[in-house]
């Protein structure tokens, strides 16, 4: 396998049957599905080949341990030739003055705070692993709620691909537990997941008991409040009734890429973002490793694609890129050009759009590089009257899906509620900040300090609300030769805002949260400050949102070239031998974390490509 992964520049001038740009989950899934078709496949990756060996994965982990700011990209070194955004760079954007501190040039008015990773394995290195299907109504927002747009496909078209994606990722859940508004009995049918659910956190059980029978009364409807476990791409006990269709045998959880016996279960390292030490959490290195079992698949790293060349029929003729020997070493840069029969652009939603703009690609729909969406993430936090044992287990194990669908969606955003297991880690930087605060401000020391810390942190709880954002043409990416990175590639320029629909969603989520804390007798500590980068005003109220890492919508699928950039199989309407894959193809975002849907779409694309390549 190793001899087909290149860091030195060896592929220049070659021709491949399929050229995949980006070694993240989308690219890996397609390489893996096509590996046995007898076709030559190359994955071209901008970042370094790290993480496949135990030593290099451990290097990520050691880096994480010693970083003071333990943000999502903290284990993964920044590489000036394939730069990546970092939440530490997010600032308040001043009017008429783009913020250029980080990799993204932020034109605002609001900051786009989501990040991606540019290294082999992509953003799944630091993703959380929540694997939710979209709900049937999420695919028809316009017909149901006169908001957003309808997809050219529906839930039922994707259902078989969701099942396939859940197998490849290795999703743990029990369908009997999963209750979603508007899902209906056929949502899962008689299907069950490869592994049983991740055991619930103590807090989940505590909340389920306390909130039993709670109903939230909105203007038009009454909403049952349910605590429901979350399907996750992390290993749990296998479901003995699940026969793996690939082997005909019972399912075996897939552990770490360097040692299959490590990480067969989630060991409760409480660190899914930014790095799972044992790889119990799925990452795309696993799928790449499987793809690389075939001699047909090669990976060339350290090659950053800048653009496509098109022929007279608007087919892609070649891809242009630069290879570097060492990040920062200009003398080691060489230019390269590769041709292929079929091209798959899988560099994640913002990079995909940027490369298409740099290539001056055709787009009759006017939606290329537009409709950038995320789940604006609203936090609320409180101290419970009881100790609930935070900082144990995965980031989240249950949520409250009650507001994922409902009639209110014609006026305000639907949302999904995460129950956080790591105390106030996200909102305040607990427990580190608690130590600093108790020592420096509250003048505690000795046994008092130890006891107070215990009592406070043990009572910390927080909710996270993932607010559905509607597509908007003005949330877009542009390029400008005055903003280039160290390799001379365009830096994405982002224009991003939220409308009243999303802000009304914040208000609904906050009101719901207040009612829950009142019911629990919790002391609320939530504060939003006008100096926060993501602060927005809505009437008399103000809210602060964060990014969810869900970068969606920049090359939406449509029925024709006039209403979309790609077909439902993610084939580019106007450049037929090119496929744009990833969350960028999604016309709307719904309330589910988008990667399972992205994976289902990649598998749909693979099926079409398999048939074509036959």
């Amino acid at each position: 396998m190793k001899d087909r992964i290149y860091s030195d520049h060896v592929v220049n001038g070659q021709h491949y049957d399929v050229l995949i740009i980006g070694g993240g989950m989308s690219g890996a899934l397609i390489a893996n599905e096509l590996r046995n078709k007898g076709k030559k496949i190359l994955v071209l990756e901008a970042g370094l080949v790290e993480g496949l060996s135990e030593t290099s994965y451990q290097a990520y982990l050691s880096r994480f341990y010693t970083q003071e700011a333990k943000v999502p990209n903290s284990p993964y070194p920044n590489n000036c030739f394939a730069p990546q955004p970092n939440v530490m760079d997010i600032e308040k954007i001043l009017p008429n003055k783009p913020d250029t501190k980080g990799y993204f040039v932020q034109k605002g008015p609001l900051p786009f705070s989501s990040t991606n990773t540019r290294s082999l394995g992509g953003t799944t290195l630091h993703w959380l692993g929540v694997c939710l299907r979209m709900l049937p109504n999420d695919f028809k927002m316009e017909s149901c709620y006169q908001r957003g747009v309808d997809w050219p496909i529906d839930y039922w078209d994707l259902k078989p691909f969701y099942e396939q994606a859940e197998l490849e990722i290795g999703v743990s859940a029990d369908t009997a537990d999963l209750k979603y508004p508007g899902a209906g009995p056929d949502f899962f049918g008689d299907y069950d997941f490869p592994m049983h659910k991740i055991p619930p956190n103590y807090l989940d059980t505590y909340l389920a008991k306390q909130l039993e029978g709670m109903r939230y009364i909105d203007d038009e409807e009454e909403i049952d409040v349910d605590v429901v476990s979350i399907p996750q791409g992390r290993n749990s006990n296998p479901n003995v009734n699940y026969i793996d269709p690939r082997t005909g045998k019972p399912y075996v959880p897939r552990g770490s890429v360097s040692d299959p016996y490590t990480g067969q279960r989630c060991e409760g390292n409480s660190n899914c973002i930014p790095i799972c030490p044992v790889q119990a959490k799925y990452n795309a290195l696993k799928t790449l490793q499987s793809a690389l079992q075939s001699k047909n698949v090669e990976v060339q790293a350290q090659c950053v694609v800048s653009k496509f060349e098109f022929d007279e029929n608007a087919n892609v003729l070649a891809v242009r890129y630069k290879h570097y020997v060492k990040a920062g070493d200009r003398s080691g840069i060489t230019e390269g050009r590769i041709t292929a029969d079929t091209y798959v652009l899988a560099a994640s939603a913002i990079e995909n759009a940027k490369i298409m703009l740099a290539s001056k690609a055709q787009d009759s729909s006017g939606s290329l590089a537009c409709n950038l969406m995320d789940h604006p993430y609203l936090l609320t936090w409180s101290l419970l009257p009881d100790h609930i044992g935070p900082f144990r287990g995965p980031f989240t194990s249950s949520g409250i899906p009650s507001f994922r669908d409902g009639r209110f969606r014609n006026k305000k955003s639907a949302f999904r509620t995460d129950i956080g297991n790591w105390g106030w880690n996200f909102p305040t930087g607990a427990p580190y900040s608690d130590v600093a605060n108790m020592v420096d401000q509250r003048n505690l020391f000795g046994k008092d300090l130890r006891n107070k810390l215990h009592d406070t942190v043990q009572r910390q709880m927080r909710f996270g609300f993932l607010i559905e954002q509607l597509p908007s043409k003005t949330n877009c990416i542009t390029i400008d030769p005055s903003y280039l990175d160290d390799l001379g590639n365009f830096r994405p320029i982002i224009q991003y805002d939220l409308g009243n629909y999303e802000k009304a969603g914040f208000a609904l989520a906050k009101e719901f949260s207040d009612q829950v804390y009142q019911r629990l007798g919790a002391e609320q500590y939530t504060t939003y400050s006008p100096s926060d980068p993501g602060f927005v005003k809505y009437g008399q109220e103000g809210f602060t949102f964060h990014g969810s890492g869900h970068i969606v919508g920049t090359h939406k699928m449509g029925n024709t070239k006039f209403d979309g950039v790609v077909t439902p199989s993610q084939q580019c309407f106007e450049h037929p031998n090119l496929y744009l894959v990833g969350c960028g193809s999604m016309p709307t975002i719904g309330t589910s974390n988008p990667t399972l849907t992205m994976a289902a779409l990649a598998l749909k694309t693979s099926t079409e490509l398999s048939n074509k390549l036959r």
Binding site: Y65, E68, N271, V435, V439, F445, N451
Partner: protein
Amino acid sequence: MTDPVKLDLFLELSAFITGFERVELLGTGLALPYLEVVEKNIAPSLFVETLHKFDDARNDHPENIGQIMQRQFLAHPTYGPLLRTIIKLWYLGQWDALPESWQERFGNSTPVSGIISSSSYLEGLVWKAIDAHPMGGKQPGFGTWSSAPEEK
């Protein structure tokens, strides 16, 4: 070689201000590295002075040492910032740079700051204090998070 009396006093002082037993501090394996960190950051004379003052106070007024620590050490403009930084060193495995004016007067010429090492992060007392494990290390095992927290 490290002066055993100094190490001993450093441990006694650390145990008192962190609220952890001496044996728990030794169990982190970090007593010596932390002593080195302190010595790199602050003038040797001040450190020795602080240790001896603490030693005298606890011998002379064992019944009142808590209040003395609060009033004469933590509230003291020179000792206070140093002791708070040592508490955070044990709890977080990290040396927070002292204010510049303090550093200029009492600091050593080889300051180090930030998280000392992977093990200092993993051994941070904060995790024990809150009955958890360091995020990303010392995995407690599948499903352990489902049980109710132990009450003390």
